[in-house]
Amino acid sequence: MRKLRSSEKTAYGLILPYVLFFLAFAAYPLVFSLVLMFHRWNIVTPMEWIGLKNFSRLAGDPLFFKSLGNTLVFLGFHIPLQVTVALAFALLLNSRIRGRGFFRAVYFFPVVVSGVAVTILWQQLYAFDNGVLNSILTSFGMPRVPWLVDSSVAMASIALMATWKNVGIYIVLFLAGLQNISRELYEAAELDGASPWQVFFSITLPMLNPTIIVIVVLSTIGGFSLFIEPYVLTGGGPMQSTLSGMLYIYNQAFYFNHMGYAATLGFVYAMIILAVVLLQRKLIESEPVQ
């Protein structure tokens, strides 16, 4: 065996804590999840090998498909809303105006506040009888919206709240993207006599494509990780309409003690997330740039 140089020894010393950490909290759980998926286990009694039964159960589990559908509903509202609102405010901020730093700081503020606090706040804004949003609506003579009590509206309401909380990050990302676009492109367009709309659709938007990919991917991962909002606001209801994937995994593990099935759900969700994210990248990247 060759002798280690002293700098090599130092290097191994520096990385050793991480290697141990990785083995304990990443590698072991990954391997153990593969074992767990083939077992029935309530943590107390010994594990019981059940082969692929967790998977066949999942394939026929209406609540799994419900939670998957709910996540898609969430993303269907959340992603377009997030991208348009973030882009609109980034465009407003990306000009010579006073108080830019102030506005940016205010828009960003909901991002840093605890999701629990934001959820408690919105619970009161969304209240049906005397919530703030409904009293604004009724004062304009409009009907009340059943924000959280109607199963066809509740998930959209949660998506709206999540957009409000997170859009600040994406405003900042868009702003950075806008500032990276070279001035020369705009000057050339001006010389060609392009209208502002033409400039927006043939220069600004295509140049922001990388930022849009990042935003879509991050929002998707966020949507699949949705937990505390439905946990506090609706408990997954009404009629399971806000049962998110993460909430379902949590319930299976901690209300029913189905550790094997919860691990299977976690694994399948993880695979779906990876697949969706890869697909999104492919789709958005292959879109022709004019």
Binding site: L14, F89, A117, I120, L125, V172, L218, I249, Y250, A262
Partner: protein, 269 residues
């Protein structure tokens, strides 16, 4: 004229994103009957909501727990993250490439897959209902290692060589030459880690049932859904205000760092 429209839009945004928090803080001091109103002022401000929160849940203890956990996690992520980042960026050793690939790989794993096995690991180790369970699984972060590595690669080799010639050990170089030059990345990692740790609630809900060990967002969550708030809106808003207050104060001072850190974390995707 064109700018007027811009300011109108920006101002509308400021109201939409900022006003609800003012309303939340004002509401936490209002009597029950007046909370639903849109305005901020009340002639009958009261601290009843806060009294109820303090009498029902050990919120001060939860605050101390949250501070302790977040500080430990942040210190550890910065210390170990910079050590690994330095080794990857500046030292040659067998397996360096493999290690880097492994770190990139762990960043891609959706947490859903390891969450349940990690919980079971805590049970097996007997760490549930201890601080260890709250701290250990987040003590190091692959993303912070990548940030440190990137930053350290840009430090001039001459500085490191000079220190080596002076006979400094690599560890001393890291802490006395590299660290002082790396304030931006240290602040970024620290702010990001502290905030994530402070706001984390799913993991504490899983591993801690003992009230005296609960973190602040956790105990406020249970206060909200568990009926202890007795449906008192003022108490709920008071709990939410107490929970956001430390972040509001930190944000007032370090706003720029918060925004820059989060923006750089966006590049993770």
């Amino acid at each position: 004229m064109k700018n007027l429209w811009k300011y109108a839009g920006l101002l509308l945004g400021a109201v939409v994103f900022g006003y609800p928090f003012l309303w939340m803080i004002a509401g936490s001091f209002k009597p029950e009957m007046e909370i639903a109103r849109l305005g901020l002022w009340s002639d009958h401000f009261t601290a009843q909501g806060y009294t109820l929160v303090i009498s029902k849940i050990p919120i001060a203890r939860a605050f101390v727990n949250s501070i302790l956990v977040s500080l430990c996690v942040t210190g550890s992520v910065v210390l170990f993250g910079s050590m690994v980042g330095y080794a990857l960026a500046r030292l040659r050793f067998g397996g360096r490439r493999v290690l880097y690939l492994v770190i990139l790989f762990t960043m891609m794993i959706p947490f859903q897959i390891v969450l349940i096995p990690q919980y079971i690991l805590m049970v097996k180790l007997g760490w549930t209902d201890t601080y260890l369970a709250l701290v250990a699984p987040t003590m190091m972060s692959a993303f912070s290692i990548v940030l440190f590595r990137q930053f350290f690669m840009a430090i001039p080799q001459a500085l490191i060589d000079a220190a080596r010639i002076d006979g400094c050990s690599e560890l001393r170089i890291l802490f006395t030459v590299v660290w002082p030059l790396s304030r931006p990345v240290i602040v970024t990692v620290a702010v990001l880690t502290f905030m994530t740790s402070w706001n984390e609630v799913l993991w504490p809900l899983m591993v801690v049932r003992e009230r005296s060990l609960m973190t602040m967002p956790q105990i406020v969550t249970l206060f909200t859904i568990g009926g202890e708030a007795e449906s008192q809106l003022g108490a709920l808003l008071a709990a939410a205000t107490l929970l956001s207050l430390p972040v509001i104060i930190a944000y007032a001072f370090f706003q720029r760092y918060f925004i820059e850190s989060m923006a750089s974390s966006g590049l993770k995707g």
